[in-house]
């Protein structure tokens, strides 16, 4: 017996949607997947007409699908956006050099201008060199802090003031949990916002905020999108690993848990008497910072002095 798609009742169902458990056909899956992203964009008034937007592209599944879907929605709904691809070369041999090849292929396929900025050109240090210096213990801190700034600097070079990233619902739910576990209430409040911005700084948005990681993979699989799927060779840290495993287990028990966590995160309000760090500007580089010097400058100073951290 052929199962029919529960949405159109015509085509044969070929997948069970991870988000809802519905059995749907390929066409309906594409429709709901794309429409949910479109709804998210419209409801949060993410873009202005004629805006220039940079897609942070790593060559991984999230950013590859993001580039594909943004190009498609931009044409279908006439957002009127001018899209760019922006890639960061952290300088990790055997990982980033390969994934950048994927980004370059994407550039051809989607016909979007591409800009690559590298750690060594911005900071004088590649990740390979940093790992040689600090070992495998805090290297992810360096990479994360540097990437944030590197994206902003790349955006300035492209003359763009809006970056969109491929962070998906799983990433956001995981961050909500992490911030509770770490006791970081400032970030707990910020991490569910779809668009964050420091004053005068570049806006940063997450159109995949409500999109399940599994459905992104599914979409890429059916559309035969070309992406790079190797974990970074400098492995991720363990505490976050615990949160990730927990989230996967939650999803297995109740598929809506990911959305439910984001829903909770959006409802959280912090007591007024709780002191949150105030955002200022780094004295050295002018980047936004809650301390006198921004984290990147502190880390960089340590590297250059030969005293990590």
């Amino acid at each position: 017996m052929v199962r029919l798609c529960v949405i159109c009742n015509k085509e044969r169902a070929i997948v069970k949607r991870p988000k809802t458990g519905q059995q749907v056909c390929k066409g309906c899956f594409y429709y709901v997947f794309e429409t949910e992203i479109h709804n998210t964009i419209i409801d949060s008034k993410l873009f202005k007409k004629d805006e220039k937007v940079a897609i942070a592209a790593s060559g991984g599944k999230d950013s590859t699908v993001l580039a594909h879907v943004m190009k498609l929605l931009n044409e279908r709904y006439q957002y009127g956006l001018e899209l760019f691809l922006l890639s960061i070369d952290e300088g990790i041999t055997g990982y980033r050099d390969d994934s950048l090849e994927t980004v370059k292929r994407n550039q051809q396929q989607y016909d979007l201008p591409l800009k690559i900025v590298s750690y060594s050109e911005l900071y004088g240090w590649s990740m390979d060199q940093i790992v040689k210096e600090v070992g495998l213990k805090n290297n992810c801190t360096f990479c994360g802090v540097f990437r944030r700034q590197a994206l902003d600097r790349g955006a300035v070079m492209l003359d763009v003031d809006h970056i969109i990233t491929g962070h998906n619902a799983d990433d956001i739910a995981e961050t909500v949990l992490m911030n509770i576990l770490r006791g970081d209430v400032g970030r707990l409040q910020r991490c569910t916002e779809i668009c964050t911005t420091g004053d005068g700084c570049i806006r940063r948005s997450k159109p995949f905020k409500y999109t399940y990681e599994k459905e992104i993979v599914m979409y890429a699989y059916f559309k035969k999108l070309d992406y790079f799927s190797t974990e970074c060779i400098y492995s991720p840290n363990s505490y976050r690993g615990h949160a990730r495993t927990f989230l996967k287990d939650l999803e297995a028990i109740r598929p809506s848990a990911i959305i439910d966590i984001i829903h909770s995160g959006e409802a959280f309000e912090i007591k007024k008497e709780v002191k949150l760090p105030t955002q200022g500007v780094c004295k050295r580089c002018g980047y936004m910072s809650s301390n006198e010097l921004c984290k990147a400058c502190v880390l960089l100073e340590g590297l250059n002095r030969g005293l990590p951290k």
Binding site: I7, C8, K19, T20, Q22, C28, Y31, V32, T35, E36, H38, N39, T40, I42, D43, Y77, E133, V134, G135, K137, V176, L177, N179, I180, L181, R182, G183, D184, V185, L188, Y210, Y239, H242, F246, D249, L250, A252, I253, R254, S256, A257, I259, D260, I261, H263, S264, G265, E266, A267, F268, E269, I270, K271, K272, V274, P308
Partner: protein, 464 residues
Amino acid sequence: MCNIQEEITLNFDVKIKPKSKNCVKCKTAKATILIRHSTYCRKCFQHVFVGKFRKNIEKSRNASNSGSGEKVMIGFSGGPSSRAMLQLISEYNEVLPQKQFYSEIVVCHIDESLLFNNQKSTIPQIEQIVRKYNYPFIGLYLQNIYNSDVTKSGCYNNVIEIAIDDAKILQQEDSIFSPSEKLLNLLNNISKLTAKEDFIWYLKLCYLIDTARKNGCTRLFLGDCSTRLSIKIISLTSKGRGFSLPLETSGETDWFKDVIITRPMKDMLSKEIGIYNQFAGLEDIYIQSVTSMMHAKASIERLTEDFIVRLEKEFPSTVSTIARTGAKLTPSDYILEENRCIICLMPYQENNKIWQNRIIVMTIPSLQQSNGCSNIQQLHCSKNSKNPYDCSNVSNDESMTNIEFTDLLCYGCRVNMRDIKVANNKTILPPYVAEGVEEKKKKDNRKQMRKHIEEYLLCNEEEL
């Protein structure tokens, strides 16, 4: 180079760890207890433990300002934490015999043995413990939540029957199903343990609050310890209950108006409570839950417990960090007294259903509406159709669609309702839920009436 440095810090870490075997507080006695990173002797441990409890309870007493002594109720499951709480409250109230802080202390226990085949009632054991304190004891059976007197009015005998596409309010007929059968049918029709556990907890909570109210108690003590609360913070978050989380985990809340909920054990770890009970010779009883002895992935609650307890072993500040994070959250300014979920009695957010329909698209609209503009139109339509209380529809009609019914639920309970399978056995929700629906209907009706005559009214509602 860096390896050498790491080793040094490692050694340093070891040195910070308490090598000295003396108590960190009195510095003289030999330490026998390790709590997180500190060692205590028995005497100092007990002093610190009782001190934490007193601090919390004083705080709540000062805030409520009731000088003459209030009548309070202890929610007593019989587990270690509520066992310690019973002892601590009684000691506290007897500090000054001539001036008791609480004029009367009632102990209440809800028996859940019905849920476990052939299990004996827990009430006799509990009663034996409570008898030592000479406090009045109320033993309840969870299934009696179906009694008509467990309602605001005290004699409301309608229930809600859930069917495939509607929910009916009907007169309860005890001759057909006993309360036990109704409760078992309801729980058996819930296909997932997560939802089942959630349901059981809120039924218990509602029963406790109702009992406190009927007995004139203005305060209900619950025994959640910090380990429990941190598990709850994560599990409530995971179940989409972030909006009501501050009310459900705070040291004190007045969300139930005349019955204040206080959690005086909120700063004690379950380990501390275990040690205290052992020293004080307090016996607790084993309380079974629907996921006891089950795999960690049996339910969200069970998984979270497993996760936190394991994490706490590896990182001993996990529980206290989570509890502190939770304590920094506050109920939203947008909480409205009237937006109270009819099942769990917790507040719900306005419009969260619209949000959900936008980010989880379950259907394809007909061809002409496929752009953003008509989506908004669609929004309005669904909003209108969801409002069943226009003035032509006065409360005689007691059947409503499931959509109308779920409009009266919070997000978390709506997620639970998805796991209810309508089977041959009738799914019947207790009278307090039906009463909530009717109350809400009446309120909405009055609102509609008011809208009709608004322009002729010369003063606002309170003055009428």
